[in-house]
Amino acid sequence: MNTIPFEAHVRIQTSISTIDLHGDINAFTDADLNQAYTEAEANSPDRILLNFSDVSYINSIGIALIVGLLTRARSSNKELAVYGLSDHYIEIFKITRLAEYMEIYPDEASALQTSN
C-alpha cells in the first residue's frame, strides 16, 4: 500500500492558527484532523489556515472532512483559508466549489499578508 500516514501540527499565533498537514487526507485522517482543528480553535483565532504543502493525496473522503472543518469554522464565525495546494487540488477545490468558501493562497507568506 502506498498510503502516507497523516500528521497534523498546529501553530498558534495571535488571531491566526495554522494547521500544517502532512501525508494523505483520507478516511483514516478524521480523528487527527478534527483534533488538530480543536487545538487550532483554542485561542479563539479569527482565521485558521490549512497548510497543504506536504499533502500529495486528498480523496473524496478527505474532501468530506474538509467540508466538515468548513462547517465548524462557519459555525463559530471563523475564516478558513488554505495554502500549499498543488494545481490539481486547486482545480478540485474549484470543482467542488470549496474555493468559493475558502481563500486559496499559493504560500504562507501571501496567506499571512492578508491578515495585516
Partner: protein, 527 residues
C-alpha cells in the same frame, strides 16, 4: 476459603472432576499437585455421591472404589461434593482437623451450604475456561487460514501480461478452505510468455507453503531451460527431496510465442487445457506424473498453434467439480459446451464465470478454489483498433485505491499524457476503485477489483469492475455544498461527482454479478 480456615484443617483441596458423560469413558481428576488420575465412570463412589449428595466421611464409607482409595491415599477425611444442575463437577476435600476431632454435624451443615454456593460458581468458571480454550482454538485456526490465504494471494500474479493481438485473463475464486491452486506468468526477454497453472494436494498453510516453493522453483528453472518438458522434469527433481510424503503438485506449463501463436506445453497431471476454434474443441493432452512423487520423471511435450480467433482455456478441478443445488457436477461436457457457444458479447473469461455462477446458484458451498486462465488470439481486424495496456486485480482493502492509481499511471506512461490530465485520470481511478471496493465488494478481502486499461479508437479506457452486480443502479444527485454546510446533507458523496468531472466520459453498467465503471479519456484533444 475462610470457611475452611475456621474449621482449622491442616490441609484442604478442591478437586475437579469432569461432568459424567453417558458413554462411560474414564474421567480424570486433578489434585492440587496437578496430577491427573483417571477415574472409571462406573466407580461406585460416583453412584453413592449422586444418591446421597451431602458431605461424606472418607474413612466411614465401605465401597470398593478406586476413587475412594485415592481420596484415602491423599489423606482426605471429609469430602464435599460440588454438584451443579445434577452434575458432579468437583469435590471440596478436607484433611484432618487440626484438633484431630471429627467433623461435627454443624461443620457438615456449613460445608453443605458452602457447596451449594460454590458448585454453580465453579461450574461457571469451568464453562468460561472451556469457552476460552475453544475461542483460542478457533482463533488459531482462523489465523492459520488467514496466513495461508495471505501467502496464496501474495504469490498470485496481480498483473496479467498484455500482448498486442492477444487477450489474456485470469480468474481466481477462493473457497473457504485454503487449497493450493496457483497460476503464474513468466515474461521472457525474447517476448515469449510462460503460462503456468497448478494445484497442490492438501489444504491450509502446508499447501500454501508448498505452492510458494513450487512457484519459486519453476521460475528459477524456467530462467535456464526453455523446453516445457525439461522445465517440469527439473522442477520435479528439485521438489522431490523436500516434499512431505503425502503431498504432490499437478502442474501445467505452456510456453506461448505471441508472434507466431505457437504454444509448446507439458503437463504434470493437471487438467488438460482446451483449445477452441469456433465450435471445435480440442483437448491439449500431454503425459506426465504430478510433481513431487518420484524423481527422474520425463514429461511429454506437445505443440499447438493458436490462430486468430481461437482460444485456450486452462482451468482447475474446482470448476469441473463445482456442484449445483441438486448435486450435479459442472463437468467437462458442460465446460466444452460453454466454450463452443458463441461469445456472450463479453470476453471469454466473463462468459465462463457467468456460466459457473448460473450453474451453482447463489448459495453455492464452494469446496475448492476455482482458477482459470484464458488466452484469446484476437481476430485480425481488432489489431489496429484495440490494445490492452494493463490488466490487474486488487483485493478490496482500504488504501488499495492508491496502488490502483499508481499502476494505471504506470500503464499509461507510454502515452505521454500531460501532467494535469494524468492527475485527473489518477483521481478518477482512485475514486472509482474506492467505490468498487466499498460499495461493490463491501471491503471483502476475497472479492477483488479488476482494472483493465486499454486503447480503442484513439481513446483511453479504464474499466473498474467489482462484484456488486444484480442491484439497481441509482444515479445520485450532484453534491450540494450549501446543503452540506448547513448540515442538511452528509458531508460525503463527492466520489462519483469527482469522477465525472475528471474524465471525458463515464459509462456505468451492471449485470447479475458485476458492476463496471468505464472511464474514458479522449486522446486526440489538445490540452
Amino acid at each position: 476459603m475462610s470457611w475452611i480456615k475456621n474449621i482449622r484443617t491442616r490441609k484442604s483441596s478442591v478437586n475437579m472432576a469432569g461432568p459424567l458423560s453417558h458413554d462411560h469413558r474414564e474421567k480424570p481428576i486433578t489434585t492440587t499437585a496437578a496430577t491427573e488420575i483417571a477415574i472409571p465412570s462406573d466407580d461406585p463412589l460416583l453412584t453413592y455421591i449422586h444418591q446421597n449428595r451431602g458431605a461424606f466421611e472418607v474413612d466411614k464409607l465401605q465401597l470398593d472404589s478406586f476413587m475412594l482409595r485415592k481420596l484415602k491415599d491423599a489423606r482426605v477425611h471429609l469430602s464435599v461434593p460440588l454438584i451443579s444442575q445434577g452434575e458432579l463437577i468437583g469435590l471440596l476435600n478436607l484433611g484432618p482437623r487440626l484438633s484431630e476431632a471429627d467433623y461435627s454435624t454443624h461443620d457438615r451443615r456449613l460445608l453443605n451450604n458452602l457447596s451449594t454456593q460454590a458448585a454453580p460458581a465453579l461450574r461457571v468458571a469451568q464453562l468460561a475456561h472451556q469457552q476460552q480454550v475453544q475461542a483460542r482454538e478457533r482463533e488459531r485456526m482462523d489465523n492459520e487460514l488467514r496466513v495461508a490465504r495471505v501467502i496464496q494471494q501474495t504469490l498470485l500474479p496481480k498483473q496479467v501480461p498484455t500482448l498486442p493481438g492477444w487477450n489474456m485473463a485470469a480468474y481466481w475464486q477462493p473457497a473457504r478452505a485454503v487449497s493450493g491452486d496457483f497460476y503464474d506468468f513468466i515474461n521472457f526477454p525474447d517476448g515469449k510468455v510462460a503460462m503456468i497453472a497448478g494445484d497442490v494436494t492438501d489444504k491450509g498453510v502446508p499447501a500454501a507453503l508448498m505452492m510458494a516453493t513450487t512457484r519459486s522453483i519453476l521460475r528459477v528453472v524456467a530462467e535456464g531451460l526453455v523446453a516445457p518438458g525439461e522445465v517440469l522434469a527439473e522442477a520435479n527433481n528439485r521438489l522431490c527431496p523436500d516434499i512431505p510424503p503425502h503431498m504432490f503438485i499437478t502442474c501445467l506449463y505452456a510456453l506461448l510465442d505471441p508472434a507466431s501463436g505457437l504454444v509448446r506445453y507439458a503437463n504434470a497431471g493437471h487438467n488438460p487445457p482446451y483449445k477452441c476454434a469456433g465450435e471445435e474443441i480440442v483437448e491439449m493432452r500431454a503425459r506426465g506424473m504430478p510433481l513431487g512423487l518420484m524423481p527422474d520423471m520425463t514429461y511429454e511435450e506437445k505443440e499447438i498453434v493458436i490462430e486468430p480467433g481461437e482460444n485456450v482455456v486452462i482451468y482447475s478441478d474446482g470448476l469441473t467439480e463445482a456442484h449445483d443445488p441438486q448435486g450435479e457436477m459442472f463437468g467437462f461436457s458442460r465446460l466444452r459446451q460453454v466454450l463452443a457457444a458463441p461469445h456472450c458479447g463479453e470476453e471469454l473469461i466473463h462468459c465462463m464465470t457467468n456460466a459457473l455462477r448460473d450453474f451453482t446458484g447463489p448459495d453455492w458451498e464452494q469446496e475448492d478454489d476455482v482458477t482459470f486462465v484464458t488466452l484469446e488470439r484476437l481476430p485480425a481486424y481488432y489489431l489496429s483498433k484495440q490494445r490492452t495496456l494493463a490488466r490487474f486485480t486488487l483485493p478490496s482493502h482500504p488504501g488499495n485505491e492508491r496502488d490502483a492509481m499508481e499502476m494505471v499511471a504506470e500503464a499509461v506512461k507510454p502515452l505521454g499524457l500531460p501532467p494535469m490530465r494524468l492527475e485527473r485520470l489518477k483521481t478518477a481511478v482512485a475514486e472509482a476503485t474506492m467505490n468498487a471496493m466499498e460499495h461493490g465488494n463491501k471491503y471483502r478481502f476475497e472479492l477483488p477489483v479488476e482494472i483493465v486499461v486499454g486503447l480503442h479508437n484513439h481513446n483511453l479506457y479504464v474499466t473498474i469492475r467489482d462484484h456488486g452486480g444484480g442491484k439497481e443502479m441509482d444515479e445520485p444527485a450532484d453534491p450540494d455544498l450549501e446543503a452540506k454546510l448547513a448540515g442538511l446533507q452528509s458531508p460525503r458523496g463527492w466520489g462519483l461527482f469527482l469522477i465525472k468531472k475528471m474524465v471525458d466520459e463515464v459509462n456505468v453498467s451492471s449485470d447479475q454479478y458485476h458492476h463496471t465503471v468505464e472511464l474514458v479519456m479522449y486522446l486526440n484533444r489538445e490540452e
